[in-house]
């Protein structure tokens, strides 16, 4: 590893100031939350010197509020804290499961949903679940605050829409109402400590007759970015979320996927499995919606 500088500004304003000034001075700068991606990258693929700006000490990135209409999750909250929050888990079981899939107990002591999203890997586990849940990124920077839907946030493999002077404060997730359920499933060849070969998140709402009135499906690891598959959601709306509907949604996911063949799986494999995951996650989300 080369030479590093570290700063942990005390306020959001001073953080934005530091990010802005170091960006304009040409200093390579990287925001740090839990560091479970950053530290690994620093020790392997990307060892050059840089300024590390730690945002996990800020009160604003640690806000967790569960409101009537909106659930707000601070960007730097470690997933261990989210996993242990019973209310959050009962409201957004799928999203929390996606956070709970990250790494191990040790990793989860630090790993954040914000970091997972900002790392912007095609295989980041929380991203499809966030998309399915219509989550919105709450971003702050030199030009003030702005909100960006998660499906528009990630722009490519490892890239996102934030400018050098911006960082993520938190995520706004619409609170589930009525008979709503969400679920996220990923496929890995092992049981844990692995990276998604494909992933699918589903959130849906049923009316009293069990008919689906709203549905969103996000898929991961099968394209350069996680995708919102509107056709898959549409295939569920108006149905009882039965096998036919789930198969139609699965087919929509497979059609939307544009994966590559690599060490983790072939194109054919990923296209097929992302559909299987959508189908299985959809069934879980349906059962949860019925139960709630």
């Amino acid at each position: 590893m080369g030479d590093y500088a570290y700063a942990a500004p005390a306020t959001v304003d001073s953080t934005v100031e530091l990010l802005s000034s170091s960006a304009s001075s040409g200093t390579r700068t990287q925001v740090l939350a839990g560091g479970t991606d950053v530290l690994v990258q620093m020790r392997s693929i990307d060892r050059g010197p840089r300024l590390i700006v730690d945002v996990k000490q800020l009160a604003e990135t640690n806000v967790l509020s569960i409101g009537e209409d909106e659930i707000y999750i601070g960007a730097a909250i470690p997933s261990a804290i989210l996993n242990e929050n019973a209310e959050l888990k009962s409201k957004l079981p799928g999203l929390i499961e996606s956070a709970d899939l990250i790494g191990s107990t040790q990793i989860q002591g630090r790993a954040s949903i914000g970091g997972n999203l900002c790392n912007s890997s095609p295989a980041g586990d929380t991203i499809p679940a966030l998309i399915a849940n219509s989550a919105v990124c709450h971003i702050v920077g030199a030009d003030g605050e702005r909100d960006v839907p998660v499906e528009d946030f990630v722009t490519g493999v490892g890239t996102n829409c934030m400018a050098d002077h911006e960082f993520l404060l938190g995520l706004r997730v619409p609170a589930p109402k009525g008979n709503t359920g969400d679920a996220y499933l990923r496929f890995i060849p092992r049981t844990e400590m692995d990276i998604a070969v494909a992933g699918a998140g589903v959130r849906l709402t049923l009316d009293d007759s069990g008919t689906c009135t709203a549905a969103r499906v996000g898929i991961g690891a099968v394209a350069p970015t996680a995708l919102l598959v509107s056709e898959a959601g549409d295939a569920l709306i108006g149905t009882q979320v039965d096998d036919d509907a789930l198969n139609a949604a699965a087919a929509a996911c497979s059609a939307a996927a544009s994966p590559i063949s690599d060490k983790r799986g072939t194109v054919e494999y990923r296209i097929k499995v992302v559909g299987v995951l959508c189908k299985r996650a959809g069934a879980i989300a349906r059962d949860r919606a019925k139960g709630s």
Partner: protein
């Protein structure tokens, strides 16, 4: 040989002498040594799988502030292929092949300096598979390599051909009512030891070097390093650290001559530690293989003939474990007609190294799959079929020797009545059975027994402890001396501190070094009897050694109190000086170890994922000195075999660059992937060992490959020949068969 019923220490499960140091993090491993003024060495590696080196210019690196030495292949003058692998000379033979090295005041500076080394390559076509290597007109990995050294034939990528033949296979197959055959591929697998290779070296003005490193054999490191540097073994002292896994992979060297040379030039100690990526790209995994097997049997199950055509990737230099592959492939069976032919094939991949039962898992995967198919065709239970044909005492093994007492039949009988076998697999699951074998080795060991003034015993031996061998040495010493285990400590000495000892490998340590420890204990007993005789004024023939003390023989009229080891040690100064027992030997008759494994699997037909639901291993240990460590070997080997069967493989791109050089994508199983690995130890004592020990460390990895394949075959209703049974392969096969 001692009878099992008489044994007091052997067969118990005490904590290991090195346990506290390890669980508290105090134990020192390869990378833990730091010396004043120490430099950090780093290696520049080839970006090409096959290329001619036209020039190397080190000056840019030497100009970097903080760099004190830089070397290339010409600085490693000896060692033949080994030296060429340590630092390449004329050609680079695989992606990651070491080309040059620097030593600098920090690891970061050393790494930056590597970028300043200019290497000019003429890129050559890489040879990346057995099929490519043996095809007509194949590019040659080594233009002067001729098969079996026969220069009357054109150069070839087939470095050697090994054959074992007996009887008349045509006649044998003509007698067969059923025949099973197939072509099976097993991918390259790495041992996956947790601790990367690491060493620190320093050399003084007299040319005397000291090397600290993690290794399975300090004496081999000494001789290999000496060869590479054209030095004498007596110029080098090698101090082995604790070892964080080896599984055969730490029986050779990569860094040591480089570190010594960099130290010689810089005048400073030099430390070198590989990254995980370097471990994958540039150390020796085991061979990828292509095996074609055929086996026939009469309708009563009697095997009449078998053939095996084996090709093993050696990597860039000759030396694939195809010989042991040939030895193992039919070892479990008594049959008259067979032909086994093995090929050692050069490819542009890292030179393979030993991996647990080197060569046996691959060839036996093929044959044990074919035997399973044979059982299906015969509608016979797979264990019954094997019992029908099992090798036994007196069988002439396919590779020549006549087996003494062996435990295959006992293992099969134990498996047949095991509750895990008599209970059928759960609904929807498939079960697969396979047999494993390893011949084991003996070779040279030395041991010294030193008795402290209070009677405490120190064993000084030379076998690095990779599987709990210190505990086993202490147990055998406790048994022989008749004293408590707790009074004994075992110490693995460096090359100057202990007598010569072959590398820990071939499952030889508990057998061979154990034998030396037992003999050294007998030496101590003889000395103690003499000291007691002197003290009591008796003839030494009138003294016995019982329960850890000298006593007058029954009928000898002497009014004396027994003398314990502590009593004798305390007064040793008056009876002839300190007590020191010793033994050195070349152990013969290691005794093969057989196993039977079966596993139940579940296959997700929509994703192709194979889940291992149950696994049982039955193995002959001869005598389990420390049963927990025997079980540990059985479980560890099973997990490595299951990992290889399910997901482990080297994935290369078209240019011969490994794409998964890390534990994220080189998928060894994690704990939650595995069921509890059930074990049952069978004990058919090895007649060549005082307590009946057979090596147990390698056999356990052999059968899981075929057992898993056979279980997936059972679950799916059709066979997938190649490994790994990774989800994409299994799903593609399901789609094809539907």
């Amino acid at each position: 040989m001692a009878e099992a019923v008489d044994l007091k220490a052997i067969g118990t499960r005490p904590v290991r002498p090195d346990g506290v140091e390890k669980v508290t993090g105090r134990a020192n491993f390869g990378a833990d040594l730091n010396l004043p003024g120490m430099l950090h060495g780093k290696i520049l590696r080839s970006p090409h799988a096959h290329a001619r080196i036209k020039s190397i210019d080190l000056s840019g690196a030497l100009a970097v502030d903080g760099v004190l030495a830089a070397i290339s292949g010409e600085d490693i003058p000896g060692g033949g292929d080994l030296g060429d692998n340590v630092l390449a000379n004329e050609k680079v033979l695989y992606h990651g092949h070491a080309v040059a090295a620097v030593a600098a005041t920090s690891a970061y500076i050393a790494e930056q300096a590597l970028d300043q080394i200019q290497v000019e390559y003429e890129v050559l076509n890489p040879v990346l598979s057995i099929d490519d290597a043996i095809a007509d007109g194949a590019t040659l990995v080594n233009e002067s390599q001729h098969t079996n050294g026969d220069t009357s034939q054109p150069a070839s990528n087939i470095a050697a051909i090994t054959k074992f033949e007996r009887g008349d296979i045509d006649k044998g197959f003509a007698e067969a009512a059923v025949v099973a055959e197939g072509e099976f591929r097993v991918p390259t697998a790495h041992q996956g030891y947790i601790e990367p290779h690491a060493c620190t070296a320093t050399i003084n003005e007299e040319g005397k070097a000291t090397v600290w490193c993690c290794t399975q054999g300090q004496f081999d490191v000494r001789s290999m390093t000496a060869n590479c540097l054209d030095k004498q073994v007596s110029d080098i002292r090698v101090i082995p650290s604790e070892i964080g896994g080896g599984f055969g992979g730490k029986t050779t060297i990569y860094l040591e001559p480089v570190a010594v040379k960099l130290s010689e030039i810089s005048g400073r100690p030099v430390k070198m530690v590989m990254s995980r990526e370097e471990v994958f790209r540039a150390t020796g995994p085991t061979s990828a293989t292509l095996c074609r097997v055929k086996v026939g049997a009469k309708s009563d199950g009697t095997i009449t003939a078998a053939t095996a055509w084996l090709a093993y990737e050696a990597g860039a230099y000759p030396g694939a474990p195809v010989g042991p592959g040939c030895m193992s492939v039919l070892a479990p069976y008594e049959l008259e007609n067979f032909k086994i032919e093995g090929h050692d094939v050069l490819v542009n991949k890292p030179k393979v190294a030993a991996y647990r039962a080197p060569g046996a898992p691959q060839s036996m995967h093929a044959m044990e799959c074919a035997i399973d198919d044979l059982a299906r065709k015969l509608e016979m239970d797979p264990i019954e079929l094997r019992l029908k044909n099992a090798a036994d005492e007196g069988t002439i093994a396919p590779y020549g020797p006549q087996f003494p007492a062996i435990g295959l039949r006992a293992c099969l009988e134990a498996a047949k009545v095991h509750p895990n076998y008599t209970t059928p697999p759960a609904e929807g699951q498939g079960r697969g059975v396979a047999v494993g074998f390893w011949f084991n080795i003996g070779m040279q060991s030395s041991a010294e027994i030193r008795i402290a003034e209070n009677g405490a015993v120190t064993i000084m031996e030379g076998s690095p402890d990779i599987g709990g061998s210190r505990a086993s040495m202490c147990l055998m010493a406790a048994e022989t001396l008749g004293i408590p285990y707790e009074n004994i400590n075992a110490h693995v000495g460096d090359t100057e501190a202990t007598g010569y000892c072959n590398t820990t490998g071939g499952s030889r340590t508990t057998f061979a070094t154990g034998m030396a420890v037992i003999e050294a204990c007998e030496d101590i007993i003889a000395q103690c009897k003499e000291r007691a005789a002197l003290t009591w004024d008796l003839d030494v023939n009138q003294v016995d050694w019982e329960d850890g003390q000298a006593v007058p023989k029954p009928g000898v009229n002497a009014d004396v109190k027994p003398l314990s080891l502590a009593d004798i040690a305390r007064s040793a100064g008056r009876t002839g000086g300190p007590l020191l027992g010793r033994a050195s030997l070349n152990a013969q008759g290691p005794g093969a170890s057989f196993s039977v494994n079966w596993t139940d699997v579940e296959v997700d037909r929509e994703t192709g994922k194979v889940d291992v639901m149950a696994f049982t291993g039955v193995q002959d240990a001869g005598r389990a000195i420390h049963p927990s460590y025997v079980e540990g070997q059985m479980q560890g080997g099973a997990v490595q075999g299951l990992g290889w069967a399910l997901n482990e493989e080297y994935i290369y791109d078209a240019n011969g660059v490994m794409e998964n050089a890390g534990f994220l994508d080189y998928r060894v199983p994690v704990t939650s992937d595995m069921p509890m690995i059930d074990t049952q130890i069978v004990e058919v004592p090895n007649p060549s060992h005082p307590y009946g020990v057979r090596g147990v460390g390698e056999t356990p990895i052999v059968a899981p490959l075929a057992a898993t394949s056979n279980a997936v075959r059972d679950a799916l209703g059709f066979r997938i020949n190649d490994l790994p049974l990774s989800p994409p392969r299994v799903l593609a096969a399901i789609d094809e068969n539907e």
